[in-house]
């Protein structure tokens, strides 16, 4: 009898310490999620200004719609920026993204941020062009390297469009796997979200002179805007990652607690059984004597 109860006690202790760890991971994920969300909010004014500038430039000079980074070209060669997490323990987040990847045509080229995506692309023998590790918290400089690489690749005519696949943060419980067009440049994601606010903010803005010329402004602005979209996608992905991990760790903690309860019940039963048996033995011995 001693053996059995000792085993259960050992298991209870081990499950309890696991619960402690998952609980700690849950709290860490929660605070990191908040930070990523704050960064996204802080970036808003920049997005608003970039968008209004972009619109002003195009309003002033309609020929700019033919800008190679905006008009794009015909063709099917696609390059995909795949943003996954570096680490696991975040539920089905990466699996959902990689399902997207599976449906892409075989010639697609990939640039990855995040270890999970990189290993997947390598394992499935797809074309991996580059991998950019981006540490937490996300610095803009890190996103700029990715943006520049993609822009060069596109500008040199190596691909006809650049898409980005990432988890969009909807709320703590929902992260949506998303594909968005990065190049040729459209007002995607962050800039679009900023659009309404910017429009209300400064329709008085027309009448600005653009120096040296609308074209020069746009030439400098578009790379900035692309870098920014990459930055924003990474922030979204990070917020998603941390919230998914937070939920996964909360479930793990709850499960562990339930397990401790079950085991405690089992332990008490075993202990009670032992005591009953002992009493019976004593009673039997007394009756015999």
């Amino acid at each position: 009898m001693g053996n059995n109860t000792r085993d259960i006690r050992r298991r209870i202790r081990s499950v309890k310490s696991t619960a402690q760890i998952t609980k700690a991971m849950q709290m860490v994920a929660a605070s990191k999620m908040r930070k990523a969300q704050e960064s996204a909010v802080k970036a808003r004014p920049y997005a608003e200004m970039a968008l209004s500038l972009l619109r002003d430039a195009i309003d002033l000079d309609n020929d700019l719609r033919a800008h190679p980074l905006i008009a794009g070209r015909n063709g099917e060669r696609t390059c995909v920026l795949l943003i996954t997490t570096d680490r696991g323990l975040c539920g089905s987040l990466n699996t959902n993204l990689l399902r997207f990847v599976n449906s892409l045509p075989p010639g697609t080229e990939f640039v990855t941020v995040g270890r999970k995506g990189r290993t997947f692309i390598a394992k499935t023998r797809r074309r991996l062009l580059a991998d950019f590790p981006i540490p937490d918290p996300v610095r803009f400089t890190a996103a700029r390297h990715v943006g520049r690489f993609l822009l060069n690749h596109f500008a040199q005519g190596n691909c006809d469009r650049v898409d980005v696949i990432f988890s969009k943060f909807v709320n703590t419980a929902v992260q949506k796997p998303t594909t968005a067009r990065l190049l040729p440049f459209t007002e995607m994601g962050a800039l679009k979200a900023a659009g309404a606010a910017a429009a209300a903010d400064r329709r008085d803005g027309i009448g600005y002179k653009l120096e040296p010329s609308p074209r020069a402004v746009l030439d400098l602005l578009l790379p900035h805007a692309v870098n920014f979209e990459v930055f924003d996608a990474v922030l979204e992905a990070r917020a998603s990652e941390h919230s998914a991990r937070m939920v996964a760790m909360k479930n793990a903690t709850d499960n562990a607690k339930q397990l401790v309860k079950d085991l405690t019940l089992e332990y008490n039963k075993a202990r009670q059984a032992g005591i009953t048996k002992e009493i019976l033995e004593i009673a039997a011995a007394a009756a015999m004597g």
Partner: protein, 137 residues
């Protein structure tokens, strides 16, 4: 006398927001001094120093390439990086300069874009150092 409202926005947040009597911007075609009642202009900025004068106070910032939207009573600056004097790390700026110079010495092996990017990085770092050292000189 009327004042300018200056806002400097970067992707990582608002770097500066406040009033100023006079602002010097590192325009891509030369330094640009802005007093209130300036003509409405939108212009590109090179990496360099941005000075904000408000009363007796002068604040120096190092900024990267970007844009400035100048209106009669406001200046909005949009740039990828803007650092105050206290935020500049001399050692890392010096290291960046050394790296950039070394890379430029081997420039023939790099593509034009890489050279341009390295030059841009060099001027950003130099701007940071200039801002940092100004007070001590």
């Amino acid at each position: 006398m009327s004042k300018l409202t200056l806002r400097i926005v970067t992707p990582e947040g608002e770097a500066f927001s406040g009033e100023a009597d006079y602002v010097t911007l590192p325009g891509s075609q030369g330094e640009l001094g802005v007093y209130p009642n300036h003509e409405r202009v939108m212009t590109t900025l090179a990496a360099g120093e941005l000075d904000v004068r408000n009363g007796e106070n002068v604040l120096h910032l190092a900024v990267g390439e970007g844009f400035a939207e100048i209106g009669p009573d406001s200046v909005r600056v949009m740039t990828e990086i803007a650092l105050r004097e206290s935020e500049i790390d001399v050692r890392s700026a010096e290291e960046a300069i050394a790296r950039a110079k070394e890379a430029l010495a081997r420039a023939e092996k790099m593509t034009e874009d890489d050279v341009a990017a390295t030059r841009a990085m060099l001027s950003r770092s130099l701007a940071q150092l200039n801002v940092k050292r100004r007070k001590r000189v």
